[in-house]
Symmetry: C2
Subunit: 349 residues, 2 copies
């Protein structure tokens, strides 16, 4: 893998491949959006203030439009946060989503990486983060974290934010995957923005609503923080389709509940089955993807053998602190998940 | 108008207003794109390399994919160019598209503004630009320029690029409106990127293809320049719809020809009719919008009176070197253009 290469780049593979490399909702997207695809929307600029879209997100999250910013996926907001606040030295618990590092590096910064201990199943330790705050100018955490699939509890997030606040350090929590967790309420820190003005929480329609092609992300912070970000934001980055679709998806409570239930069942299935394979280390996950490790070999041969069976996995070697023994798989349809398990068993037997 | 406010923000007005404030192709968009709107495209990440889209643009322009970058409208590419090359002091012939100034200012720079002389009908003088090159680190020119509607000839662009090259200064030419010009071949500088590695040319589907809601821009430069820009680019900023639609529009030669013919006729009509109004100064334009000036009064009353008649014009007072006497109108359907003329006559009589 290239340094910042992602999963999901199926365009370089056979068309019929089952893509376990990209971690998108396997149930697809809310059906309700089909009516919102109207070509007429393209003939006008999107509302530069995204008023209706923000109202929709407001209804979904209970937070006010004034505390909200929308962007071209979570990515735009991650880059914007780093750039607008001139962050040069965030602490990033790693392995982590590669774009955090890239955003900081491109802005001329140099992150401090905190190695999330594999021994504890990749649980981020809030005390360890707090202890390092004097060495950094900000905090960036994926919650749940990608590629590890582990989340930290809301109270631990709050502890970190509170400690960071004492030193006046901004904190970004990337919750792009949080809605996949069954009891996500214990983990989400959205509404903490009402109490801590150093907190920025990012979300996206990309993963949970199964719409990576849409490019719709959104973020929350104090009114003051949002104003600072808007001052640096490029105009109209959410296109008219994303705007229209975004006004619908957050209403579909049923889709959300079904997704969480389904993910739980399939993660249980995958975990149980994959644990039976001696050569595999299976890390516990709370979301729609899981990190795995081969005990004694590079993942290259496995990846190649699986590709012959039209299965694409995510080689995780370009994540910091991981190497060529690690890989990530997404949860897909039950039928595809069974295929994955059978294929891995066959290759590793 | 706010400092960086644009036309086209119809969301704050009555729904039935005729929008002369936003300068989009009045013939709409190429019909062929209707088939490309497939919701399934949203369930995958866009091809991060946009291979097929670039092939399409390549066929249209005759330039190679390696010399090409695509973005979220021309805006993303304008900001990217400024940021990736750390431009702090470009010369910007003004009045100009407001995002040039904003991009530079947000990157901590301070443009040198060259006042395009109104006396000469807002023609940019290539010699004047060249004479100032020692004071700047780059050049940014809208060609045709917005809001003035005037273009500079290809040979003059080449002269500026050549002079800038001697001093190693990058030049960005924004050709977002160039395809509206009947004899655009005399003005476009796209293929000069094959001879000058300091040149970056930006275009967009926004204006000419009537798709401001789509957010699809594209730019051309030497392979080396494109690589430098890609190194700073945020991933997936062109969404799956824009990708799909972009693969179709550049084939529609007929739409393009019809547009140019139509714009020429309507500009002639508007120019002739508006010139009959004593209180108006009409500046000659080559594209789908025109700059106008009231001789003895602020445009505020006129704007308000026109709004009562459900016509929205673009108050141009927030463009550098213009004031509250200036306004811009777009070319619309002939029927709407007649309405505009009649309404202005009525108000100013």
């Amino acid at each position: 893998m290239d340094k910042y290469e992602h999963g999901g780049n199926i365009y370089i593979y056979d068309k019929d491949v089952i893509d376990f490399s990209s971690n998108i909702n396997p149930l697809g997207f809310p059906e309700c959006i089909k009516d919102s695809i109207d070509i007429a929307a393209l003939t006008k600029y999107p509302d530069i203030n995204y008023t209706q879209l923000k109202n929709s997100i407001s209804k979904y999250t209970g937070l006010k439009s004034e505390n909200m910013i929308v962007g071209n996926g979570a990515s735009e907001l991650i880059y914007l946060f780093v750039r607008a606040l001139s962050l040069k030295r965030p602490i990033i618990p790693s392995p982590a989503f590669l774009e955090y590092e890239r955003a900081v590096t491109l802005s001329g910064g140099n992150p401090l990486y905190y190695r999330i201990p594999e021994e504890n199943g990749y649980v981020i330790d809030a005390d360890e983060i707090s202890n390092r705050l004097k060495e950094v100018d900000s905090v960036i955490i994926g919650n749940p974290n990608n590629p590890t699939g582990k989340a930290i509890k809301r109270k631990d997030v709050e502890y970190i934010v509170k400690e960071a606040k004492k030193l006046d350090l901004p904190v970004m929590i990337d919750e792009a995957f949080i809605e996949f967790i069954c009891d996500y309420e214990k983990y989400q820190s959205l509404d903490l923005i009402n109490y801590y003005d150093n907190l920025f929480v990012v979300r996206a329609a990309t993963k949970f609503f199964g719409l990576p092609g849409l490019r719709l992300g959104y973020g929350f912070g104090s009114e003051d923080l949002i104003k600072r970000l808007e001052a640096y934001k490029e105009p109209w980055t959410v296109n008219a389709f994303a705007d229209a679709v975004g006004r619908k998806i957050f209403d579909d409570i049923k889709f959300m509940g079904n997704t969480r239930k389904y993910i739980k069942e399939e993660i249980d299935y995958l975990t149980n089955e994959l644990k039976k394979i001696d050569e595999l280390v299976v890390f516990h996950t709370q979301v729609n993807f899981m990190l795995l490790k081969l005990k004694n070999q590079s993942v290259n041969d496995l990846k190649e053998e699986l590709l012959k069976r039209r299965i694409l996995i995510r080689d995780a070697s370009n994540f910091r602190y991981l190497d060529d023994r690690y890989f990530r798989v997404a949860v897909k349809s039950h039928r595809d998940n069974v295929k994955l398990v059978e294929a891995i068993k066959e290759v590793l037997k």
